[in-house]
Symmetry: C2
Subunit: 331 residues, 2 copies
């Protein structure tokens, strides 16, 4: 069933298991305690950043499957994507497994898009189980989107730090696990922001639009959630989100938490906080879902946000279209 | 319902309308007669190849919606992707519309992935209508994946020519239109091909695997289809496909047609034929679906194929993982 932009699941799929892996810098923050694997070396034994990113994603998928106790043969499909050109991390990680692969691209909102689509496939009875996963790596993102690390460019104060990490979860049915109750599909929002270092400001309108759509479609209000979790708006973007939702009559300030804002211990060199597809993926799969499993959060709105730019579009003077897909999670 | 890697639709969604647009070179071939819009100038009035590609995709989406007579408000979601880094053509095209957008990446098999996922969303009752679309542009693909056009590099004999064009269709329910009966999800296949100019050889094993899976899962044989349509294997890849399926006990030779092989009038400078996400998208939406609407083809297996490489993965010595998703279309 659909109302507005929100699709509702008749038999809400369950998150049977979840896993996350993170880099050394991330280990110093909340992920250090909650991630299944914490790396001392961000190269993860590989020869390139991109291969390390792919290996992390593959490891997160394997770990989630292992924790679900289903085995590889118990998985029906993988829905995954990442930030690298032609989503090579996801495609090459999928090569490690025998089940089908559906490639997605929604920048840093890939985690919520994959849960939304995966839940529709499970609830619709098309598959019994689905793995949803994504990740990112600071060094591969930096050299693809911005400058070679060796150049030592100064980071502007509105910049964010791409999280080195990956997270994955297994969707299925049963009596246990967090439920995916519904999902709100995002529309593309473009407020004309052209500063590629200011993703928070670019993405906040998309997050606000999806979150407000979600409230309207489901008849809920911010108080109905223990947590309204955005992906990687950072400190500045989070402030803009609060303003934009306030203008629409919703005060999310007491419930809103941004994964980018909480992922690092001290926001200093990272300025506005974390970003990247791995940001919301690790915080959700390591921290939030663990807290939900323990009953500490009962109802969470997970609205990851994605900036749909490329270096080519920016180079050609285009502004940054953004999107946010949301899923409602309940114990 | 799922059997093997194939998902079956209870109430097969209908293709309510379909549209395609193609470039000047493509107009000389079969698309000239069947495409809704044929361009004289491949720049399409834009200042860059990438913007022209985006405009074509947006036009194909608009045309398909117009032909469906549903209007923009009658569309529930767009599923789209393309070959450019961070699928900017699809993301920027989605900016032109008010309905939600789910970004996909499956290289040149994006058309069949989008139909498969869109059909699941429609059949599952999550949306009433979905637009599935993709496209490509020779010049943007060439400079992103290979060399700047200005360099005038010699093309090796195993090379293919990226199709300049875009195609889209509207899925929904009703009594009219071609039915999407089922869809076979692809798994990633990597036979170790590293030659980025030899996509046909790289992709043929993925196509063979999905097509054979489809036969097994559905209990059908090549003779049950009027057409077994692959995306862009080209002349060489098509020969390999026939060999590989023959080895598994299926003789597809009398039914198999490759979009890349038929899209151009004379295969000369294009060597092995057409390629790109726009290749299968235009041939399906302009030619094949028009023939199906006229009852000339009753049952078609559409198995688009994608090479999941990037310039970075190739530069780092990786081979080319490939995938093929298939959908069974029936009048």
């Amino acid at each position: 069933m659909k109302k507005g932009n929100t699709i509702f699941f008749k038999n809400p799929p369950r998150i049977l298991s979840h896993a996350a892996i993170c880099g050394s810098k991330e280990t110093e923050g909340i992920l250090g305690k909650y991630a299944d694997v914490t790396l001392e070396d961000d190269m993860y034994g590989e020869s390139t950043y991109e291969k390390a990113e792919c290996k992390m994603l593959s490891a997160a998928i394997s770990l989630a499957i292992k924790k679900s106790r289903l085995g590889e043969s118990g998985i029906d499909v993988l829905l995954s994507g990442d930030l690298l050109n032609q989503i090579i991390s996801a495609s090459f990680a999928a090569r490690d497994f025998t089940f089908p692969f559906l490639g997605l691209y929604s920048a840093c909102s890939t985690m919520s898009e994959s849960i939304l689509l995966g839940s529709a496939l499970v609830d619709g009875g098309y598959v019994k189980t689905a793995v949803c996963a994504t990740g990112s790596h600071f060094a591969s993102a930096e050299r693809q989107y911005r400058y070679p690390l060796e150049l030592g460019c100064t980071r502007p104060p509105q910049a964010q730090w791409t999280v080195t990490g990956a997270g994955g979860l297994v969707l299925g049915s049963g009596q246990k696990g967090v439920k995916v109750v519904n999902g709100t599909m995002g529309t593309v929002c473009d407020y004309g922001v052209t500063d590629v270092n200011n993703m928070g400001a670019a993405m906040a309108p998309a997050a606000a639009k999806t979150i407000v759509s979600h409230f309207v479609d489901t008849g809920t209000a911010p108080e109905d959630y223990d947590l309204i979790l955005t992906g990687d708006l950072g400190a500045l973007g989070s402030r803009i989100l609060k303003d934009l939702t306030w203008e629409k009559g919703y005060d999310v300030s007491s419930r809103h938490v941004d994964c980018g804002e909480i992922v690092y211990k001290v926001i200093e060199s990272e300025f506005q906080g974390g970003s990247g597809a791995g940001c919301s993926a690790t915080v959700l799969n390591a921290y939030v879902l663990t807290k939900m499993d323990a009953g500490l959060y009962k109802r969470v709105l997970f609205a990851a946000t994605g900036a749909l730019l490329s270096t080519v579009s920016s180079g050609q003077g285009e502004s940054i279209p953004c999107i946010s897909h949301a899923v409602q999670l309940e114990v």
